[in-house]
Symmetry: C2
Subunit: 464 residues, 2 copies
């Protein structure tokens, strides 16, 4: 695979150097669009334009839609209107709609007047659905028959209509006169059924459908859940308007997963490929959260300062307490990261719902009590023991041993309830990222630590 890929990159580069080399273009055309797109990313955009221009436009269009959007945008801006219009014309309509994001709005509008009116109308229809909904990723090309059609007629219909523009013909949809969906036939059943049987007799009359306004991620999860190869989409009056196919759903899921993963790491932005982003774009995706968390961490400093100003420097106990700060906030942050990651993922997969919060928090408190208690015991030993530990007084060691489980339990509560709360408020739970939870637990965990210290040391007749 890798050697082949290097081959392809070399060929693309060689062609960009010598655009007269027709044999190179012929060789390049042997590859699949997905592979060519992957390798084109490694060329600069002038060279990529050169290559796309030389390829058969029908191939070039399919390569373009596989490119990361930043790369695609750079290339589309260099291509003449006639070429882009041709791409819009030949691409499946959902891909054409995708391409719009790469064009500036006036140019896109102008191009719609160049392509066949029927295609332009379909693109406009898809664009009228909410951004990121099923409506924008559906295709209107599906095979439909009436309930009284015989299997022989269904096959005839497929022969006459289902050309390569149709993304799938696995399902044949049985519609009433007013375009309501009565049932679905699989192509396999059509082939295997008696040719004179009617659609009504053979069809599954309880197909799973989705409304056109459903968010695309939810549609994609539904398709994945049932293992369908396509799902019918209904408008708000229950009429069938198109289908969303499994491969488009797969792309939606992959992007959604990437966005979730990045959000959980504290990175803002869409699923754009890493290498196609400029350093400036990377900064824009990372700086906001980092700056917010940095400002929040000022508060941690203020907490430390608050207790140090109050402290009686003479005892030297504050300096000793300070040594355990990274250990305590580290444990809290790590425990919080684990919990928020687990819960956010379970929410994304629908395994946990917002209304399960009580079940979740009970489990998390139990689990974190056991884990935190064990860490607390280890922390106590580390503080108290001579030689292997730091040989601290028992009072201070107890502070560490007691504060640890409390901080870990606090981190687990915050790490589970904040994502669930976000979900309940219809926000993206992934925003309650591991760095966010860590930072939150840093400041609040320190308050727990110093208050425990105050109580325990007082019991031993000391203060810090």
């Amino acid at each position: 695979m890798r050697i082949e890929e290097q081959d392809l990159v070399d060929r693309l580069r060689a062609f960009a150097q010598d655009p007269e080399a027709a044999h190179l273009i012929a060789e390049i055309q042997e590859y699949r669009p997905e592979d060519i797109a992957d390798c084109l990313v490694r060329l600069d955009s002038e060279d990529a334009v050169l290559v796309l221009h030389a390829l058969d436009p029908d191939d070039a269009a399919y390569i373009l839609v596989e490119l990361p959007s930043e790369t695609a945008r750079a290339i589309v801006n260099e291509l003449p209107d006639t070429t882009v219009a041709h791409y819009l014309d030949i691409l499946p309509m959902d891909d054409a709609v995708d391409l719009r994001a790469q064009l500036d709005p006036e140019r896109f509008e102008a191009l719609l007047h160049v392509i066949p009116a029927e295609d332009a109308d379909e693109i406009r229809r898809l664009l009228s659905y909410p951004e990121g909904s099923a409506g924008q990723i559906l295709t209107e090309d599906f095979v439909e028959v009436g309930p009284d059609a015989t299997m022989a007629e269904v096959l005839q219909e497929i022969r006459q209509t289902a050309d390569e523009d149709y993304e799938t013909v696995n399902y044949i949809y049985v519609l009433s006169e007013d375009r309501h969906l009565l049932g679905v036939l699989t192509l396999r059943r059509v082939i295997r059924a008696n040719p004179s049987a009617t659609a009504r007799e053979i069809m599954n009359s309880e197909p799973v459908t989705v409304p056109a306004e459903m968010p695309e991620e939810e549609v994609a999860r539904t398709i994945a859940r049932y293992g369908f190869s396509a799902i019918p989409v209904l408008d708000d009056r229950g009429r069938m308007v198109g289908i969303v196919t499994a491969d488009d759903a797969q792309e939606v899921l992959e992007e959604a997963e990437t966005e979730d993963v990045l959000a959980m790491g504290g990175v803002i932005g869409d699923a754009e490929a890493y290498l196609s982003l400029t350093p400036w774009q990377l900064i824009k995706r990372r700086f906001p959260w980092l700056a917010i968390l940095f400002l929040a961490e000022f508060f941690t400093g203020s907490v430390l300062r608050h207790y140090s100003i109050q402290s009686d420097e003479g005892t030297g106990l504050l300096a000793q307490l300070m040594l355990f700060v990274p250990l305590l906030i580290g444990a809290g942050g790590n425990a919080g990261s684990q919990v928020t990651t687990t819960i956010t993922r379970a929410l994304a997969l629908g395994e946990v719902r917002a209304r399960d919060w009580w079940r979740v928090i009970r489990r998390e408190l139990l689990v974190s009590f056991v884990i935190g208690g064990t860490l607390g015991f280890l922390g106590f030993l580390r503080a108290y023991l001579p030689f292997v530990g730091w040989n601290q007084p028992v009072s201070l060691s107890l502070v560490v041993g007691i504060a640890l489980p409390l901080i870990v339990m606090w981190a687990a509560s915050v790490g589970s309830l904040l994502p669930i709360g976000a979900k309940a408020l219809k926000q993206d739970p992934a925003v309650m990222s591991a760095p966010f939870i860590s930072t939150f637990v840093d400041a609040t965990g320190l308050i727990i630590y110093f208050e425990i210290a105050r109580l325990v040391l007082r019991a031993f007749g000391k203060s810090f």
Copy 2:
């Protein structure tokens, strides 16, 4: 959706209370196996066994394979051998292989003697492939024809062989006499082609294939990449042994994503559903990393202690330096989390390869220099300014301002190179989790901080 789900849970519970209620079972059977499985999880396992037993075994088998493995294991242990053998018999072979993980090995071996020998042989064949490889998720049920078959004959072949056991008939595979794959026909082309055309004339003779030993995640990514609905699998002598279908690939991907996400959060384990895990299992998944990171954080304490023992307490500067510790290690940890999340995801998607390390580190150093420099400036102001800041001497404020960009750049280097290094060593990059990077940066970042402090304060004629 939700209301329906509650309905189904209620019906399942009602049936478990009153197993004579035949109308309830009829109603339950109207639902899809995926939905019934989701709701069965919310019953205890005795009740779930009761329900499964009452359902038509053909439905029950499909529900069982949709259950989280912990729940499935509990149920299978309660079911009699004849029932489980029947399930093994009717399930697609890849699902039957999956079921093995829920049974103890002797029982599974014994059951193989009860089911038809042909099925048992197929299960044994699949089990002979490496754990987690394409071989274990393939199905041997695919439609095959010779190169000289006409389209009419291909349709006839589908009518005669492709019953409901066949997961897909979208592709028809053209094999030579010695079972080498010559090409692939899509069912759509078969239907639309001239009935007397031969397979050789119509087929695509350069299909993408995968070897049976390929790890299942890689197979799944290949299917997703090209948007196939199935991919042919070849043995080590190039003979076609089966196909992996897109819906099985989708499941593999979802599990792999979940494992990656959890690993990035510092949680060990497979994609088992959160609510089906016992608290004890949750502890086992979380404690190992937490304990390792906790021990590693001891080292951070040792770093602090090292510098505090060396310090000249009289100046009081150490206590001031200590106040900035959470701010500095927080910024380093958060920046490191962002980078490791971004790079690990790009590696998982194949956007970045191990050999891109130099490109990555150059970008990351530039990006972290800009981000770290900005945070450093903010940190300086926070330390130096009166009123809005802490009114510290310029020397100490400079320490903070200089140490911050260095720590952020260090975190970015560690956060990008460690996952790439893991990948180069064929390890899972996701193990270089956000908590791991944070903890690593805590201790090492403090060394940077205190060494900068030593240098800068010396320049000002001070020491701490």
